[in-house]
């Protein structure tokens, strides 16, 4: 191999960017508005690319997206329905975001969602006859949070104690909890009047009150939004949040300065699990009112995408959860009106994620105008990829 690289200034093969008089410069500080631009930009590019798919299938892009938008936001009803869809995603998105901030990779949101739903069902089953709704509902949420936290803590403790890879344990725990649930639904918890794997419908005293009468929008959404604020405040304003972020940034320096990384890991897992568990309670007590195997529409997994698209920021999580809720909701209308399969929204989701992740790298650079002095000889290949 010729090791030395020619010392002579190369000839001019500048990148397009540079010939246009621009260059990329790395920036060390990413401002909040950069994140907002990334998020919005990613959704727009995702939609734009899908419009090519729509056009390719000989459908009108404008009509399709209008139907999508109408289905999502076209009427009060549509908006409420969108928020209903967004509710569990806000919880699971917050769960993932909180854990990821500490670089604790909790992929078990799905299992913790079910653990939460089971916890909620368990306390409802136990006390719905004796407790009034005003007490029952909070208790049911507490039960869900506790169950979710407990389930996630298994992975947390294994990681803290034995340095077990939490990605693997949390994924495995997803399977385990589903098996436990199927067992319970087939046996102890099975409703006596059905052959299906489902429980009895829970009594009124366990039902979440509605936020808007006559719609399906229940207070789960309000609680989810409140939790976003709580997570923000915890991360920004408390010593715990400081330590969580610190462990995510540099756990070595954290340990030197007395932050117990194992302790933070277990706590983060538990809190993350509790948040995912709340999603289970909200779905059980706000929408389904009985426990069955299909109460989750992959909420735990989609929550991870939501968290990443929301740049691990609670506000970002709320925004992207609502956007996803809108897509899911609007897709139904779109399918009915134009015949485009609702699965298209999965493509939009996937593309948005890709672009957000790309954008996350891109915002670390800024475009700078360079002198358009073409007399300057260019050197060898610049950083055009």
């Amino acid at each position: 191999m010729s090791a030395g690289i020619s010392n002579a200034p190369g000839t001019s093969s500048g990148s397009l960017l540079r010939r246009a008089g621009w260059r990329l410069e790395r920036r060390l500080e990413v401002k909040p508005w950069h994140e907002v631009v990334t998020l919005v930009g990613a959704f727009i590019i995702g939609l734009a690319i899908c419009s090519i798919l729509i056009a390719a299938s000989d459908k009108s892009v404008v009509d399709s997206y209008r139907a999508l938008f109408d289905g999502a936001f076209g009427s009060r009803r549509a908006i409420y329905e969108t928020l209903v869809q967004a509710t569990p995603l806000i919880f699971t998105g917050l769960a993932a975001a909180f854990a990821f901030r500490a670089k604790v990779w909790n992929i078990g949101g799905e299992g913790q969602f079910f653990a939460g739903a089971m916890g909620a069902y368990f306390v409802s089953d136990l006390w719905s006859g004796v407790l009034p709704r005003g007490v029952m509902v909070p208790v049911l949420f507490i039960g869900a949070a506790a169950a979710g936290a407990l389930w996630a803590s298994i992975a947390g403790v294994l990681k803290a104690r034995y340095d077990t890879n939490e990605i693997i344990t949390t994924v495995m725990l997803n399977f385990i909890i589903l098996l436990i649930l199927s067992y319970l639904l087939g046996d102890l918890w099975r409703s006596p009047d059905t052959f299906y794997f489902q429980t009895v419908t829970l009594p009124e005293s366990t039902h979440l009150p509605l936020m808007i009468g006559g719609s399906r929008l229940h207070w789960g959404f309000g609680i989810a939004a409140a939790m976003a604020v709580v997570v923000y405040v915890v991360l920004r304003r408390t010593a715990l949040g400081y330590e969580v972020r610190g462990v995510g940034i540099n756990r070595t320096a954290g340990s030197y300065k007395g932050i117990s990384v194992p302790r933070v890991t277990v706590l983060v897992m538990a809190i993350s699990g509790a948040l995912a568990g709340l999603a289970g309670a909200a779905e059980l007590a706000g929408v389904h009112h009985r426990l069955q195997l299909d109460i989750s529409n992959n909420f735990g997994f989609v929550g991870i995408i939501i968290a990443l698209i929301g740049r691990l920021h609670p506000a970002g999580v709320v925004v992207s959860a609502i956007a996803f809720g809108a897509l899911v909701n609007g897709a139904v209308t779109m399918q009915i009106q134009t015949g485009i399969p609702a699965a298209l929204v999965d493509v939009i989701q996937g593309l948005s994620l890709i672009f957000v992740l790309t954008g996350a790298v891109a915002v670390r650079y800024r475009l700078q105008r360079t002198r358009t002095d073409e007399s300057l000889p260019a050197l060898a290949d610049p950083t055009d990829e």
Partner: protein
């Protein structure tokens, strides 16, 4: 500018300005580097030295002005362009792939070839090592090398890529005196072979020793470029900080108080066995600075780690104020009033993605000083940050900026400000003035003495003998994981300490046991 020998100018910055949000890091800089000479850049922390070097290396592009090489303007978009043009650089914070071997790290920078021929590379690299007298094992993973060695890998990388100008950003900060001697010998050989060297350093005697030309920067501007033979250290200091600075600060004798730290029979095992501790015993009292001298790699890191609780002791006791803390967690030790400044500030001392103000409270985020019951009080934090900025003259637009934007010396100031503010009972500092400009060095040394006078017990681990002789009440010397000798400052001589550092025990004149 130098009028003489204008036709031998190799690298030139003319009218170069570089702005970052909130600061003008380089302000209309014009500078000429002559071929086959050693050119030093000197200036306070944050003066813009690294930024200027980055402009030469294509990391940044000037907002105004041009960089010229061999009289031609060159337009660099990335270090690749610089490398292609024959400019190499060892940056202040290394850029190595630590799990990979020395050889792999060196060839990783070559591009354009799909397949790397490691065998040829090995031969060529061996030749380079021979030519410049570099000793490094090509197959060791870089992560296992000491920092000083890692730096040689960076230098090899630049040479391998065929540089004609080699820029070194504070290379001596991570080297022992012997290492510096070796580096300088090599640099001189390189210059005589026709290589051009640009060297950044804070140490004036190094400037005087190695350089042919010196340029002083101040607040982003060039104060002056001179022939080194025509300037004095005092003159350079005045150009750099605008006043006289005497680093040999006046340290009054202090009567030592109660025993604070009592370490006895301490053994620490390390995986490789290198840098382990064997039967270390030492004591530090109130109002006393115990200096630990020694060539790096002789157990200083293990000593630091075991004292702060990051490494378990295999045997022995660490007693602070009568309590054995050998089994305590780092957090519990902080509660006992043990503060520490690690040598590797970026990895062990700072959260680079935190705000500066957040880093200033690291370790005390749960103390009443900055909040209550787990809540952080933003006002208290902001006020403390403002005080620290003022006291330590920290050069940054504001405390809410991300720590990453700080210059190397300012990072160290953040750590010092944080650790000294807690009024520690026991302060363990490792290379506290590494990378600091002389003004800041003077300030930190004064602060250490003030802390001593306040009543703190201080363990000062340093490779800077001048610093140790100036500040310490007693000096102990480490060699191969043991304390091989200890001496009162009054009786300390460079010779005696040097002997111990080389592993010869006993006192001069006596036969070693």
């Amino acid at each position: 500018m130098n009028g003489s020998g204008a036709n031998s100018v190799l690298l030139r910055a003319s009218g170069v300005t570089k702005r970052f949000p909130g600061v003008v890091a380089n302000d209309d800089i014009t500078l000429e580097v002559q071929r086959a000479r050693v050119h030093c850049l000197l200036g306070e922390n944050g003066a813009g030295k690294s930024t200027l070097a980055d402009l030469f290396y294509g990391v940044h592009e000037p907002d105004e002005g041009v960089i010229e090489l061999r009289g031609e303007p060159i337009h660099m978009v990335s270090p690749r362009d610089a490398i292609a043009a024959g400019i190499g650089m060892v940056r202040q914070h290394f850029e190595l792939v630590t799990p990979m071997s020395v050889l792999e790290n060196v060839v990783i920078g070559t591009r354009g070839e799909a397949k790397v021929d490691l065998r040829t590379a090995r031969v060529r690299l061996g030749e380079l090592c021979d030519l410049y007298g570099v000793e490094v094992d090509l197959d060791t993973p870089v992560g296992d090398l000491a920092v000083g060695q890692q730096q040689w890998v960076e230098i090899l990388k630049a040479l391998y890529l065929g540089c004609e100008v080699l820029i070194l950003d504070e290379p001596t900060a991570v080297l022992t005196p012997e290492g510096i001697e070796r580096l300088f010998t090599t640099l001189r050989r390189m210059a005589s072979e026709g290589l051009t060297i640009v060297l950044i350093t804070h140490k004036l005697h190094e400037v005087m020793e190695i350089s042919d030309d010196v340029t002083v920067l101040r607040r982003g501007r060039v104060v002056r470029t001179s022939l080194t033979s025509e300037v004095t250290m005092a003159g350079l200091t005045r150009m750099m900080v605008g006043r006289d600075v005497d680093l040999d600060i006046d340290v009054a004798e202090a009567s030592r108080g109660d025993l604070v730290l009592d370490v006895s029979g301490l053994d620490v095992a390390t995986e490789s066995g290198r840098g382990s501790l064997k039967q270390v015993s030492l004591v530090v009292h109130e109002r006393e600075i115990l200096g630990i001298a020694g060539v790096s790699g002789n157990g200083q890191d293990a000593l630091f780690d075991v004292l702060v609780g990051m490494q378990p002791a295999a045997a022995g006791t660490i007693v602070v104020d009568g309590q054995d803390m050998a089994e305590l967690s780092p957090a519990a030790r902080l509660d006992l009033g043990v503060a520490s400044v690690p040598a590797d500030r970026i990895h062990q001392g700072l959260m680079m993605d935190f705000r500066i103000s957040e880093n200033l409270i690291l370790g005390r985020q749960r103390s009443d000083r900055f909040g209550r019951r787990g809540w952080l009080n933003q006002n208290d934090i902001a006020r403390f940050a403002d005080d620290s900025f003022a006291n330590y003259d920290i050069a940054a637009p504001s405390p809410t900026h991300v720590t990453r934007v700080l210059s190397g010396g300012n990072l160290q100031k953040i750590v010092m400000a944080r650790e000294l503010a807690g009024q520690p009972r026991l302060l363990i500092v490792h290379q506290p003035t590494r990378g600091l400009d002389i003004g800041a060095t003077e300030y930190v040394r004064r602060r250490l003495v003030e802390e001593r006078d306040r009543g703190a017990a201080i363990l000062l681990i340093s490779e800077d003998l001048d610093e140790l002789l100036n500040l310490s009440s007693r000096i102990a010397v480490m060699f191969d994981g043991r304390i091989v000798g200890e001496v009162d400052r009054r009786d300390a001589t460079i010779d005696r300490i040097g002997m111990w550092m080389a592993g010869v025990s006993g006192t001069p004149g006596e036969a070693p046991p």
